[in-house]
Symmetry: C2
Subunit: 396 residues, 2 copies
Amino acid sequence: MNYQYLLGLSIILFSTKILGLLTKKANMPQVVGALLAGLILGPACLGVIHTTNFFNQISEIGVIILMFMAGLETDTQELKRSGRAAFIIALLGVIIPLAGGFAVAALCHVGSDALPASLTLQYIFIGVILTATSVSISVETLKEMGKVSTKAGTAILGAALIDDILGIIALTVITSMADSSTNLVFVLLKIAGFFVFAIVAALLYKQLMQFFVRLSPDHNRRYILMSFAFCLFMAFCAEELFGVADITGAYVAGLVSSFNKKRERIYYDFDTVSYLLVAPVFFASIGLKVELASMSSSILIFTLVLTLTAILTKVLGCGLGAKMCKYTSRESIQIGVGMISRGEVALIVANKGEALGLITSELYAPIVIMVVVTTIVTPIFLKLAFKSPKKRAAAL
Amino acid sequence: MNYQYLLGLSIILFSTKILGLLTKKANMPQVVGALLAGLILGPACLGVIHTTNFFNQISEIGVIILMFMAGLETDTQELKRSGRAAFIIALLGVIIPLAGGFAVAALCHVGSDALPASLTLQYIFIGVILTATSVSISVETLKEMGKVSTKAGTAILGAALIDDILGIIALTVITSMADSSTNLVFVLLKIAGFFVFAIVAALLYKQLMQFFVRLSPDHNRRYILMSFAFCLFMAFCAEELFGVADITGAYVAGLVSSFNKKRERIYYDFDTVSYLLVAPVFFASIGLKVELASMSSSILIFTLVLTLTAILTKVLGCGLGAKMCKYTSRESIQIGVGMISRGEVALIVANKGEALGLITSELYAPIVIMVVVTTIVTPIFLKLAFKSPKKRAAAL
């Protein structure tokens, strides 16, 4: 057995906390410090820690727990009210980045004739990568600020949920064009199937919990443990059986558990596991993925333009969608900003594209940098967007 | 990325809890149920879950956290008082199983002429495997019964700490006889070095914590996170730099943290991570390791005799040691019983022996079964040994 991971874990916990406290002192969310810790420790800078399977798996559990907690905190009444709005926000938040990514890729000529897919398809694929939103960072920041259940917070969560589905559809359309083994109708049926499955699973889970409550009403731990087992099960089923992202499954499990009377105790114990073990690993692991290999100047320019496009198109698309749904300008900006972060979803999409011959491996570095930058700026912008107007004026 | 581990984790959490509740109903500790869950899910029975690197690493963190919590709970005054006794208990608890293991191996002729080591050395090695005590199961059981800081509980922890060191010496002696690359004096110096290192690290850690307290006295989480980072760091250093077991390092880190004012909060949050994620994986993973491959009848008999010898020699050796140190007969039995469990230490030793050509791979199954049986009977016997005499009489 190799014990190196114990040292790695120790360093990650220590440095994410130290840098988190420093960024907090600088009036930025602690998450930024944790992301920077990964960037500094990883191959981009010091190179003392590398991503391993263990860190990847722990960090996946970290995202799952974060999304479960987001579900637990979601005000379902508000989500129902904002359902139509969330759909419009998500839709515009997919279409505009898709167009933007395509335009940037075409302008920078980043395609390769050596790939099996046509250049147009390669350019569209860059657009697809820009559609993916990862709200876990926003959720963490909103949590830190106590804003998860605000109107804008709920819209962000709802829109991200729908964005995830639209992103999967976009990915499926393009992969089905590049690869004849996937069928669009079948994929759409599977997505619908997941929601039917989720409702059935939720009902069965509720029965099981009631049985436990009758058995012994005073023991909290067994419910919390069962909630975690249920959360992991839903995450697995979403990903492996229905082709939906695992975090969508975890979010749904959280929503289901939010009706539980023990909700607050469940939240508290999940939060402990999160802050003490899995969340620091997740935040650090994003920075750890960046490798600044020898990049040509044209790739550097592409990286810059891609990153700016990623930020602007999401804020524009989602903000416009929100504005159309009669949110205030302030809320529309908050919503747009909350959707900037691309996170692991974009990386998964990029991975898939490389495997299918839709992008060259040379484009992997720009995409990772875009993900890291959008992830780092999201909490900073989000904090600014939620600052009370008076305070912001004073800060300027 | 493969998401199978999410399902595996979900099944482990669910089944260890369900079986734990069943064994609790049957008046046995919940740990037994968790061990049985692993046995049932693993290749020995259903074969639905297999040990993976991920489960091994999570389960290692599980042991580390359990040992840290044991250190946190240790009554250091009592440990100082019982230091000499713990040494005698550990010494007899090593010598008698060593002799017993040798005798059984010689009687059953389990050696192989094909191995590079002499038959005598191979027989001695079986004895060395029997010396290793793993107190994590006892600690968990004592915790469940609220008996960690009793006189017997403290003696068990102290003796296990020393047993660990004596076991390492025994292992080193025999491996240095089989392999010329290890040097006994050097190993002893490293063990001494670890304790010097631990004292220095503890002092530095205390300074760091005081600095944090001055910085912001009201935030608990940063201390708890730092304690965890320190615990992992000590576990790593013990194992990799000084050749002492990682759990010894974790235990020492727990002892150091037990002087912290936030001790109870630290304990509470570690306990949450333990019960909700890492401990179920640890307990299940022991059962998962059992593979009942085609075993010959002579190997079956050897398994039976080895297991009985493992149980009897530990109870006899440690009980005798305790009796010599003027513990009551009742306490001596409690101490002897608390040391029965072999756990992961014996498996690590066996692994090492196989790599050095000291045992054949055929002997691996009997050793795993011995480990599982000693681990399952320990909590049962321990609960009986701690039952008040009146209740025990009524139960008979």
